[in-house]
Amino acid sequence: MPYYITKTGLDVFDTARAWGLAVLLNVLTEDEVAIRNAGWAFILDSAAPLPSNPAILNSAAWRTLTFEQGWQQVFITLKGAWSSKRDRVKEILENQLTSLLTNLQNPANTVKFGVGESIPGGLDPVGFKGLRHATRAQYREEQLNVSKEHWALACLGMATCGTYNKKAGQSNLVLLPVPQETRFSYFRDVQELFRLPGLEYYGVQNAAAHYAVQLVERLRRRAAAQGSLQDRYSAVLYFGLFGAGQQMKPAQGNQLRLEPLMDAVAKDPHGTQNLLEWLDYCFRLGSTEGAEDLALAATELVMRWDLGSYERLVRVAVRILEREQVRKKKQRDFVAFVRSITDNAIQKSMEVISYAVV
């Protein structure tokens, strides 16, 4: 029986709800869950039917979900009150599970705005005041409230499948992949796909681009083992949060399209390995002081996949080869970077550019 997460136009909120429902179904059925992006809605289905009287209170997997580190980050704007909000999510989902699931089976289900719980800024930047209307120097804007069941689903999805990256002195980077067509048997497997290495990033775009490359590489490995690309993601949603005095405020945010890389992997899962390795080492070496231009050029290429950004990366890469101070600082990454630049990697990147142009 399919479930529908009809889209509201709030990209992060909608995607987080889809992930939240997927995790919920996985916990309830302990079997495979499929998510498909149908444009107007995310359509979810579980391989096993739901138990006639679904209850999650006894599920060990459900209890472990409350230990996710993401909860504190989702409710970062609430500071110390985050755990009470987490408990509120748990309570809503436990008590209203049957009515929520019945409602989501209706393709015409909608999210009510203006009632229920307010969307926290750590979940979706539209939750911040001052972004939806002109405030004219006064915060007259209301909280963005949504019905509590959908709010709880979104919080669950973001806490389990969202990636938060915080380094000292940097803004908080938030990343969430948008599924196109994907299935998983255990939600922890999905979390494994969304890990981000602890590098120094020069902003949220840089982190999002590296995250995208890592995600596609993990999917490529699976595709190479299985013979074809089974799981597809269409984009990575990203935004930054920074501390402004006592409050958190949103920095920039957008989405990074994954189609060019996904198409290349679908066409040739083995051949794209060199390209993804090269890009990965561009980010790794680029996190070194003195090689920032490499990370930024690689970011631009992954974001745009056009001739200008490709040419820039090649120019920078040629110059990096002679930067002794970079080599001395990160000998291993430097050698790996040099070894990763192969004729095959270069030709594959050219193919991706042509896909992106066409």
Partner: protein, 136 residues
């Protein structure tokens, strides 16, 4: 014309590899900058000629003679620019600027692959020398 097709062109291959050697072995970044700043067909042809002259000088000093692209390869590259420019819409300035960008991107890609190959050889040599030193 696609970048991957330009990359396979013989003139691009020979010139790109020569540029890679010049950068990898002689740190000839002047030629790289020269090519990067070329916006018109004349500028591009001049930059290629200047590089070829420099490369001849570098190659003549090498004991194991480097392969030098011939002057006719410059003409072939310019013909390639003309061919690509014909397929692009817009006025002459735009068409040639875009065509030069495409050929230059392919040249630099070849140069990067060659310079990297030389760097890998250099690293291997250094590692061998370090191993021998530690053994002795």
């Amino acid at each position: 014309m696609r970048l991957s097709e330009v990359y396979q062109n013989q003139a691009v291959k020979e010139f790109g590899e020569a540029l890679g050697k010049a950068i990898g072995k002689e740190q000839d970044y002047a030629s790289l900058t020269d090519l990067e700043f070329a916006q018109t067909k004349t500028d591009f042809a001049d930059a290629l000629h200047r590089f070829l002259r420099r490369f001849h000088t570098m190659a003549s000093k090498k004991e194991n003679m480097w392969f030098c692209p011939s002057d006719s390869r410059v003409e072939e590259l310019i013909q390639l620019v003309d061919e690509i420019a014909k397929t692009i819409s817009g006025d002459d300035n735009v068409r040639y600027r875009e065509a030069i960008r495409l050929v230059r991107a392919a040249l630099l890609s070849r140069a990067l692959a060659q310079a990297t190959y030389l760097k890998v050889q250099e690293i291997k040599q250094q590692q061998r020398a370090a191993t021998q030193q530690s053994q002795s």
